[in-house]
């Protein structure tokens, strides 16, 4: 999209206006964030609200700094991050494999369909006690919870995309004498590709839900643990700090996936 050719004055004006508009939007975004923090800090400092209940930006910064000094900041972040990534990877890989299997065999798909529907409808947190008994109170249980939350979503997303492959294109492939593996590799998977990428995006969110939910039920470390612990002992500063860190991490991971999407989709030029 580089404009190397000289452009008309009108077009230059259009570009300038567009640039200005984008600049304005960014300025407002940052300004809004600063204003929110400022008001929050101010009402807490003036005593209009009780900072013990609402915390405040400066107290959050202080709490994070003291966690850092105690050397536990990156430990908690690391634990949660590891659980989330492990659960995400397992859910995606297993979900993908199961979706391929169910696409391959119509009969198998029809057999397990009601099971998938029920598992999808079940609130996974109901399995909490079972998970504790089966997997103990360590990271293993939390990873399992994360997988549970993401797995069915991954299966259904990929499977739907594979099944929606254009039947005329399948007819074309069959008229060329293609076998099922060729239809999968040369047609179904490439045409499901955008859905597979969007499944990754959805599953990032699912993985965070799973890992934090898991830490709520059973944990001795992690950001979810800090939130629950902080709530129990009424250290709202700790709750807010952990929530803030969670926001940063989740947003960071989401942007990584969006970046990945851009690279992958660009390479396929659709």
């Amino acid at each position: 999209m580089k404009h190397t050719k000289p452009c008309s004055a009108e077009h230059a004006r259009f570009l300038r206006r567009r640039r200005r508009n984008i600049g304005l939007i960014w300025a407002c975004r940052i300004g809004l964030f600063a204003a929110l923090l400022g008001v929050w800090e101010l009402v807490a400092a003036l005593g209009w609200v009780d900072p013990f209940i609402t915390s405040s930006p400066s107290r959050i910064a202080g709490t994070i700094a003291s966690l850092y000094r105690e050397g536990t900041l990156f430990y908690h972040i690391g634990v949660t991050l590891w659980e989330t990534l492990a659960g995400f990877a397992l859910a995606v890989i297993v979900g993908f494999a199961v979706a391929l299997l169910l696409w391959w065999s119509d009969t198998l798909r029809k057999i397990v369909e009601p099971y998938i529907v029920v598992l999808n409808a079940l609130p996974k947190i109901a399995l909490g006690p079972l998970i504790i008994i089966w997997f103990g109170t360590g990271s293993k249980a939390i990873v399992f919870m994360t997988v549970l939350v993401g797995l069915i979503v991954a299966i259904m997303h990929v499977l739907t995309a594979l099944i929606e492959t254009d039947c005329n294109k399948i007819l074309l492939m069959r008229s060329m004498g293609a076998n099922k593996a060729q239809i999968l590799w040369k047609l179904a998977l490439p045409s499901a590709y955008p859905s597979i990428i969007s499944m990754l995006k959805i599953n990032v969110g699912m993985a965070w839900i799973g890992s934090i939910m898991g830490e709520y039920i059973v944990s001795r470390a992690g950001l979810g643990y800090l939130i629950v612990y902080g709530g129990q002992v009424f250290k709202l500063d700790l709750v807010m700090s952990a929530t803030f860190l969670l926001c940063l991490l989740a947003a960071g991971m989401y942007f990584l996936v969006v970046l990945l999407e851009k690279v992958l989709v660009k390479n396929t030029q659709r």
């Binding site: 074309l172 008229s175 490439p190």
Partner: protein, 244 residues
């Protein structure tokens, strides 16, 4: 010496669904000789596409025989080019599927593409081509494996009228100059008359061949045929036969 390349004998085909069965064809008999351009027309819903699937061996008849010697190339209503592949890669698709992806055949396919005006578009994606060019690419893809008989399933019906006449002319010329046998299925009477050597008229379901006509245009091109007086006479005749 003419050689029979496709023969339907007393073919019966039944569609089964949970709600019942539907006899699509019954006692369907016809043949196609090498080098011929045969068009099949019929009332809508009479099982024209079924007939092509039977010819290509994608489905098996319930009774009767479908015999063919030679390989098939199938061309559908829409071009069905894969949007994630370049035109070149799309044209190579049947070679990959049939595991004939040899340098010689690739070269042959590329030569066809160049000969018929796709040379500049080989590295383009289908979305960058016009409807007519895309359909031409689809024809080259069909020709890539050097099939003995082309099965054309209303290949122009998704195009607008002007493109349609041009692509029709294109396809006719390419098929003639490559000396291919073709079996065209269409509901468009004028298309059948402008392309074919012989027209078969199907009856309503269950389909069988109701009439058969050899056309006498002596190898005129489709657009030229449309200008002759015989064209409208044929049109009238076939129109009446379709509406019996």
């Amino acid at each position: 010496m003419t050689k029979r390349i496709l023969q339907f004998t007393d073919v019966k085909y039944i569609y089964h669904t949970a709600h019942g069965e539907l006899v699509a064809t019954l006692g369907l008999t016809f043949s196609v000789e090498k080098g011929e351009f045969v068009a099949i027309i019929g009332p809508s819903g009479c099982g024209k596409t079924t007939l092509l699937s039977l010819a290509a061996g994608l489905i098996k008849p319930a009774a009767g025989r479908v015999e063919s010697c030679g390989s098939f190339g199938y061309m559908l209503q829409k071009d069905e080019l894969f949007p994630w592949r370049t035109i070149e890669k799309n044209i190579f698709l049947p070679l990959e599927i049939k595991r004939q992806n040899t340098p010689a055949l690739r070269k042959h396919a590329l030569e066809l593409a160049k000969k018929y005006g796709l040379g500049d578009f080989l590295r383009s994606y289908p979305s960058q081509l016009s409807g007519g060019m895309r359909q031409r690419a689809a024809l080259i893809r069909t020709l890539a494996t050097n099939p003995d008989i082309l099965l054309l399933d209303e290949p122009f019906s998704a195009l607008d009228y002007q493109t349609r006449l041009n692509v029709c002319e294109d396809v006719y010329n390419i098929i003639r100059s490559e000396k291919k046998t073709a079996l065209l299925i269409t509901h468009d009477i004028s298309e059948a008359i402008s392309l074919a050597d012989r027209v078969l008229v199907l009856s309503a379901r269950p389909a069988r061949v109701a009439r058969e006509h050899a056309l006498d245009f002596n190898g005129l091109n489709p657009l030229k045929r449309r200008e002759t007086g015989g064209f409208s006479a044929w049109f009238e005749l076939l129109w009446q036969e379709l509406n019996i």
